[in-house]
Amino acid sequence: MKNILKLLALFALTTSCKAQNQIIDIQNDNGDEITGAYYKDIQNILDPFIGTYIYTDGTTSLKIVLQKKLMSSHSNLRYYEDLIVGEYQYIKDGVEIANTLNRLNINKPDGSNYSICGNNIITKTSGICPDCTPNEKALFLGFVDDLTDNLTDSFIVRRVVEDGQPAIKIMILWAISGHLKGTPSSQKPNIPGGYYILIKQP
């Protein structure tokens, strides 16, 4: 009898561990996050995007720092995922408009609490990266500008080479913002939308 109980306990423990540690490649994440799953960057596709990047146009510049965050989870700990997270600094005509870079000094368990966050790997066949080469893997990330209460509809990051230097080409498309008639307009996002090429810093 004791042996049977031990076997049952072992079986329960094994199946329980399996449920909580189901590892799914982030490339196969279809948006239906499974409870207990870990969406892992098995093929390290996110790694080449890590770095500090700067766009410069005269006295206007955009600096973005991207980091990889392992096993990020929302507060309810329902599932885990590897993410790219990031922050930014925007200087317009020599005046610093926004700088959230220091947020990266704080290790937040939930990557969604950084301005830039996501792990959507897109390709040419995703249909939203027309400039992607056939074998290229780009990122569709989220960008929440909480300083102005804006978010992007589309924030696509591609790895490119610019003048012989590694760089990223980003596309920022800000989402439509709802607005209650008769109240003051909401703030514009800090960074104008559009394409930017940012050179990777050594």
Binding site: D29, N30, G31, D32, E33, H74, S75, N76, R78, S112, N113, C117, G118, N120, I122, T125, S126, G127, I128, P130, F140, L141, G142, F143, V144, D146, D149, N150, L151, T152, D153, S154, I156, M171, I172, L173, W174, A175, I176, S177, G178, H179, L180, K181, G182, S185, S186, K188, P189, P192, G193, G194, Y195
Partner: protein, 527 residues
């Protein structure tokens, strides 16, 4: 909450209601009892029949007696009224107050004297100036008009023109701490314990700023039965219960309790306790617009969208054509559509369409509230998926929540997009089941995955999940439609697609596993 109820002056409960209720309850008991008696064939059978007859006669006579007594006892006059009544329009002092309130309204409404639903832009409320109630007692008089609820759960508000001691009219907004649903579910005695707040807009010739402090009053109350003016008040005959409250002093910044029926209160709102000698009393009551409170959704969304293309009924084609020219831009463009609350003399409504474009590739704002009934916007090709998003549905949910009940059937959103193969589609979404729609949209919104998130964080997370669902579609229309319908078809909406470039013919998209694409198009004529 501080309750300032002093005492209940008079409480007369309608025996008509009691007897009806009792007879209804008793019916079942008696029938069961009769059956038992018949079955048992007891000697009490005849006795029981006699008692039953006596009981029924008692009910009949007591009902008649009560109705008569109420009519005699009641000194309060309660009558239906309309701003357009000749008597009202000839009362110069009342006109002065009405014109002041109208001066807060939009120009378009002032140009249309036949308007029924008046929208106060500054207050952000609609009120029905044809469904007013005149109340008077002992020289106190008022005209109360219902504010139309934009949501069924909204607390009842009225606009009151109340005659003051100078025989001029003060204007108040009254707010009751209960909804129309509460009125149906609770007794008037129970509702009388709820709160009433007053906000003066005009008092003794002094204009008060909007959002001035709400004031609360000491009051006494009397529940009375009133004749329904032989149909003059509600169009029905008979009696209904209401009650009166009489204030002794009012305060600002203090909460008090009471509600419903009719109330008489002092209307000072200078921030300090006041007494009746400094101001008149307020007589009013909770007036509900029964015609407009329940949301009326369209039964023919397909036809509604076709109608929206007609020159005298929206004329949306130029705006959609404009948006189509913007599909290859790297930003979104939008058009807000507003509809006047009242028809013109020709029976048509005015539609105002405002094109929205960001100056610096930043965001576009699409408004809700006011007269806005819908919007159209573009999804830039190659940068976004050529299908409506959750964010579009969330905007629709917010939009309809800010539209009064009588306008909810008009609410729509249009999305113009181009897929990876260059196919341009114009989609419209209409809500067909508001409860289902709001419940399911908010179920996603309130998912515990997003606990503690800001609204923008939530939208971002939901949007990223959607992109994961679409990323293997190559942004092709047929695949996108199927995935969209798989997620949202059961959300109490119709997703429609324009079948021509005049936008006067639409089809409804539905899931259909027998189709190769998994989606079938139902022509408008078949809906």
């Amino acid at each position: 909450m501080i309750s300032l109820v002093l005492y209940r002056e008079k409480l007369v409960i309608s025996l008509v209601h009691i007897s009806k209720t009792f007879s209804s309850l008793g019916k079942t008991i008696f029938i069961n009892f009769i059956n038992q008696l018949i079955m048992k064939k007891t000697k009490f059978y005849q006795l029981f029949i006699s008692l039953l007859c006596l009981f029924l006669m008692g009910i009949t006579f007591s009902s008649c007696e009560v109705e008569k007594d109420f009519a005699i006892d009641n000194k309060i006059i309660v009558k239906k009224c309309s701003m357009k009544d000749i008597k009202l329009s000839s009362d110069m002092k009342l006109n002065h107050a009405v014109n002041y309130l109208k001066s807060l309204q939009t120009k378009s409404l002032l140009e249309n004297p036949n308007a029924r639903f008046s929208y106060d832009e500054e207050l952000g409320i609609y009120y029905d100036d044809e469904k007013g109630v005149y109340m008077s007692k002992d020289g106190k008089e008022s005209y109360t008009f219902p504010v139309i609820q934009t949501e069924d759960t909204e607390k009842i508000k009225n606009i009151v023109f109340n005659k003051n001691s100078n025989n001029e009219y003060d204007i108040y907004i009254t707010k009751y701490d209960f909804t129309k649903e509460d009125m149906a579910n609770y007794t008037k005695e129970a509702l009388a314990q709820r709160e009433i707040k007053y906000q003066a807009l005009l008092k003794n010739g002094v204009k008060y700023t909007i959002e001035a402090q709400w004031i609360l009053c000491f009051y006494t109350e009397a529940l009375i039965a009133i004749p329904i003016d032989n149909g003059e008040l509600t169009g029905n005959f008979g009696y209904e219960l209401t009650w009166v409250t009489i204030s002794s002093a009012c305060f600002s910044s203090v909460d008090t309790g009471n509600s419903g029926g009719a109330s008489i209160g002092n209307g000072n709102n200078n921030g300090n306790e006041t007494n009746n000698s400094q101001g008149g009393t307020i007589i009013t009551g909770a007036v509900v617009d029964n015609d407009a409170i329940l949301p009326q959704l369209s039964e023919h969304p397909c036809k509604d969208m076709a109608d929206l293309s007609k020159p005298n009924s929206g004329d949306i084609k130029p705006e959609i054509d404009w948006l189509k020219t913007k599909l290859d831009e790297t930003k979104e463009f939008g058009v807000e559509v507003e509809k006047s609350p009242n028809p013109n003399s020709d029976g048509n409504y005015n539609y105002t369409k405002t094109e929205k474009e960001s100056n610096e590739n930043d965001h576009v704002e699409l408004s809700f509230g006011g007269y806005v009934i819908g919007a159209a916007h573009s999804h830039p090709a190659n940068l976004t998926y050529a299908i409506p998003s959750y964010g579009d549905l969330k905007w629709l949910e917010i939009c309809i929540s800010h539209v009064p009940s009588f306008r909810k059937q008009d609410v729509f959103t249009i999305i113009i997009c181009k897929d990876a193969e260059g196919v341009v589609s114009t989609y419209a979404i209409k809500i067909t089941n508001l409860l289902s729609f709001t419940t399911k949209i908010n179920a996603i919104w309130n998912n515990s995955d997003y606990a503690g998130f800001s609204e923008k964080q939530k939208l971002d997370e939901i949007h990223k999940k959607q992109v994961k669902k679409y990323k293997n579609t190559n942004n092709q229309t047929n695949l996108l439609e199927k995935i969209f319908l798989e997620e949202f078809a059961g959300f109490g909406i119709d997703i429609l697609k324009a079948t021509n470039n005049n936008f006067d013919n639409w089809e409804t998209l539905k899931l259909d596993s027998s189709q190769t694409s998994g989606v079938k198009s139902v022509p408008c004529s078949n809906n």
